[in-house]
Structures are given as C-alpha cells and as structure tokens.
C-alpha cells in the first residue's frame, strides 16, 4: 500500500464542518505544511482539537486567524490573542480542557474507552455539567472521549510503512492523536525505506498512519 501523498492530494482530504486534531505544543510538533494545505483548501467551520491555539502565524494559529474554526477544544489559548478576541465576540466557541484531561480524552477516544475518571477539575468550573463519581471516598469527574475525522501529525522520520520517530519535545500530543482519528496524516522531515527503522525505535507503529507527506513536497 502506497501511503505517500503530495500536497495536492492532501488538500482533497478535508471537507467543511470536519473535526480535526492537530499535534503540537505552541506550534512545536505541529505539521505546518499540512496546516497551510488546509488553509489553501479553504475548509471552513471546522472543530479543532489541539493542546493550544499557538501563535497568530505559527502552529494551528493561522486557522483561527483566517476564521476556519467554529469550535476549538484546547487547554490554552493565551498566546494567540485572536482566539480570545473571537471568543469574546461570540464568533468562536471555545472549550477549555485541562491539559492532562485533554490527553486522557484523546487516549480514551483512541483506545476504545468510554471515558476516564480524573480528579483534575473537581471543585472548579471544569466540573460543570459533568458526572461526578466517587471511588473509594474520592471524587472524580467522568471525562468523555474525543475523536476526530482527521488527525494531522508531525514526526521527524518515517519509513514508507508509516512507522514514526519524533524528535525532542515535538512529540507531545502526536502519538495519542495517531490512535484517535479516522484518517491519520503525518508530515515528516525524512522518509526512509521499510526496514531502515529499527523496530525498537518506532514510537508510533505504521498501521496507525494512513498518509505520509514529506516536508517540502518531495516524495522520496
């Protein structure tokens, strides 16, 4: 199965109203060229799941600035002033989720769980509207799974089977999101032949990756 994909093909994978997950922490580990492809494809009304909305010009930030997002689910929006502005103006729905809870919700979505019980947020506004469950005398919030139609990942290296290696702190949400979307697209810096990555070094197994886009557009 050929997973390699060109920029033109990437842009055909998006439709209006989609739910999209994107890896990254303040833009580090976000597939910038895939974000650009989404912008060029003129996709609208997306629900975006990401740790944060990064900055106005990097990470997933340009999707907010260019008004492609109708709802964002994130742990932090403070570094992109446009997110807060659109939220206050009533143009953008924002669901703020504690970072560890966001990670667990994505995990639940990707691993067949009906949700997770976390103590984080008990006694705060985060508990509003959520079921509270007491286990052995301690209160937990039931946090429900998150899934997306498309996950956009960034890895350092892939083989042509889609086995991935991440670099430094650019790993963050990427391995989790690889499990939690119908279609998983990864942007990589380097592509190697199958067998060139030691199986012990693989961080995300290739069976989870549907499409591989090589940064700069080169396919081999």
């Amino acid at each position: 199965m050929n997973k390699m994909i060109s920029m033109e093909e990437v842009s055909t994978l998006f439709t209006d109203g989609m739910t999209i997950m994107a890896g990254g922490f303040m833009g580090v580990g976000t597939p910038q060229e895939l974000v650009s492809a989404m912008l060029e494809a003129n996709v609208r009304d997306i629900t975006l799941i990401a740790n944060d909305t990064a900055f106005t010009e990097t990470g997933v930030g340009p999707l907010i600035v260019n008004r492609r997002v109708k709802k964002v689910i994130a742990s932090h929006i403070g570094t992109n002033p446009e997110t807060g502005r659109q939220m206050i103006a009533g143009e953008l729905e924002v669901e703020l989720v504690p970072q560890g809870t966001l990670a667990e919700r994505v995990r639940a979505g990707g691993s067949g769980l009906g949700g997770v019980l976390t103590p984080t947020g008990v006694g705060t506004v985060v508990e509003e509207g959520k079921e509270k469950i007491t286990v052995d005398g301690r209160e937990f919030l039931l946090e429900k799974p998150l899934r997306a139609e498309v996950a956009l990942l960034k890895a350092y290296k892939a083989d042509k089977a889609g086995n991935l290696i991440y670099h430094r702190s650019a790993r963050n949400f990427n391995p989790l999101m690889a499990l939690a979307a119908d279609t998983v697209i990864v942007q990589v810096e380097q592509i190697v032949e199958i067998g060139d990555i030691d199986p012990d070094e693989v961080m995300t197994p290739g069976i989870l990756v549907d499409k591989i886009f090589v940064q700069g557009g080169c396919q081999s």
């Binding site: 922490f25 303040m26 833009g27 580090v28 580990g29 740790n51 944060d52 994130a74 742990s75 932090h76 929006i77 403070g78 570094t79 807060g84 939220m87 703020l96 504690p98 970072q99 560890g100 809870t101 966001l102 990670a103 667990e104 994505v106 995990r107 976390t118 103590p119 984080t120 947020g121 008990v122 006694g123 705060t124 506004v125 985060v126 350092y156 991440y166 670099h167 430094r168 702190s169 650019a170 790993r171 963050n172 949400f173 990427n174 391995p175 989790l176």
Partner: protein, 216 residues
C-alpha cells in the same frame, strides 16, 4: 550563590529554593518560579519536569533546536540523563504523584488551600494549560507570589473570589513578606522574611492566620 536579594521576586525564589531537596522531581510554572533553580545550593540537584514532555529541563545553551522548548514555548535544553515522552505520559507523571513539588504563581489563595490563578472573568481567559493537573497531582504545591496584587489588595484571602484552579490543593505560600503553611485550621504564619514585622504582615493580609509560636 546568593548575594544581595534586590527585588521581591528574588526574595521569593530564594526562599522557595530552600524547600527543594536533592533528587526532587520539580515542575516550575512560568515566570517567577523559573528563577528558583538560580538559588539552589551546589549540593542540591533537582530534576525539572517540563509538562510538554520531558524530564531534565535545562537552560538554553548553544544553538537553538526549534523542537526543544520549555512549557512557556521558549527554547531550552535537556540535561544528560533526561528523557522525552508524550503528553499522556507527562500528565501521568504529574497526576500520578510522581512530581515531588510544583511551584506556581497565584492570583488568590484562601484559608482552605484553594488556589485561583488561571482566569479573571471578562479580562483574562488564557486557559488552564497544565495547572489544574499539577495542583491536583503534585505531592507538594508551593504558591510563589507577591504578597499583594498590583492594586495593593491582599492575595491571601479567607475565601477566593476568582474561579478556582484547584480546591484544597495548596500546601505553602511564599511571598516577599512571609511564609505561610495551609493547615486544617487555616493559614499558619511560619516565617517572616528578613526585616519584615508581624504588624506589616497583619496589615497586608486579608485572611486570618495563626502565628507559629516560634515567631511570637
């Protein structure tokens, strides 16, 4: 090491440093808490955890690696012996009690150990990031903050007014004036910073507090 402490933030960071022990796994919030390692004695080495996915956070030295940033998104480094992991594992460490101490700033702390530091309705709504998980899961939560808000009001209250980051989570508050411990009975004033009188602390603290008999 410690020469002259010229400003309130240095006084606070230097005092927080005394709470850390050799080998502690520590998560530092953005801003003032990041100054704490500057005041550690040479024989105290702590392991810094960065919520975006590693232990062994170090200061930026040499070339910038765009893939290596701290929890504030600033270029940083990883020390020998460090390790990277994903966000899920990072918060398993945090929530699971594998972080010994978290040091973070505060807007308000109250006598029940409640902390508010993530939003001011109508003014500032940046999101909680990892703060709610940190205060829930770290073994010890130290709030390092200036004693009063910029408008001169007390940040140490009988009851928080702002939306909470965590309920009953704070163990200790370190300000430029004093050190408080949070107990079942409310705040206990444990220390006065050098040159600060008990009267000054009473005047500038809205919450009631017990004075450690050693200070009287």
């Amino acid at each position: 090491m410690i020469s002259t402490l010229i400003n309130p933030k240095q006084i606070i960071a230097a005092r927080v440093a005394k709470e850390l022990s050799d080998g502690d796994v520590v998560n530092l919030g953005i801003g003032l808490p990041t100054m704490v390692p500057n005041f550690l004695p040479e024989d105290v080495n702590v392991i810094l955890q960065s919520e975006n996915g590693y232990i062994g956070l170090g200061p930026l030295e040499g070339d910038i690696d765009p893939d290596l940033v701290n929890a504030g998104g600033q270029p940083s480094s990883i020390l020998p012996g460090g390790a990277f992991f994903d966000s899920l594992f990072s918060f398993e460490l945090i929530r699971g009690g594998h972080v010994d101490v978290t040091v973070l700033g505060g807007l308000e702390v109250d006598a029940k150990g409640n902390l508010a530091n993530w939003m001011v309705p109508g003014k500032m709504v940046p999101g909680m990031g990892g703060a709610m998980d940190l205060v829930t899961g770290a073994k010890k939560v130290i709030v390092a903050m200036e004693h009063m808000a910029k408008n001169g009001s007390s940040k140490i209250l009988q009851q928080c007014r702002l939306p909470l980051t965590g309920k009953g989570v704070v163990d200790m508050i370190v300000t430029e004036l004093a050190v408080f411990r949070v107990t079942e009975a409310g705040f206990v004033l444990e220390e006065l910073q050098e040159g600060v009188s008990l009267e000054t602390v009473r005047e500038k603290t809205e919450a009631a507090f017990i004075v450690n008999p050693a200070l009287a």
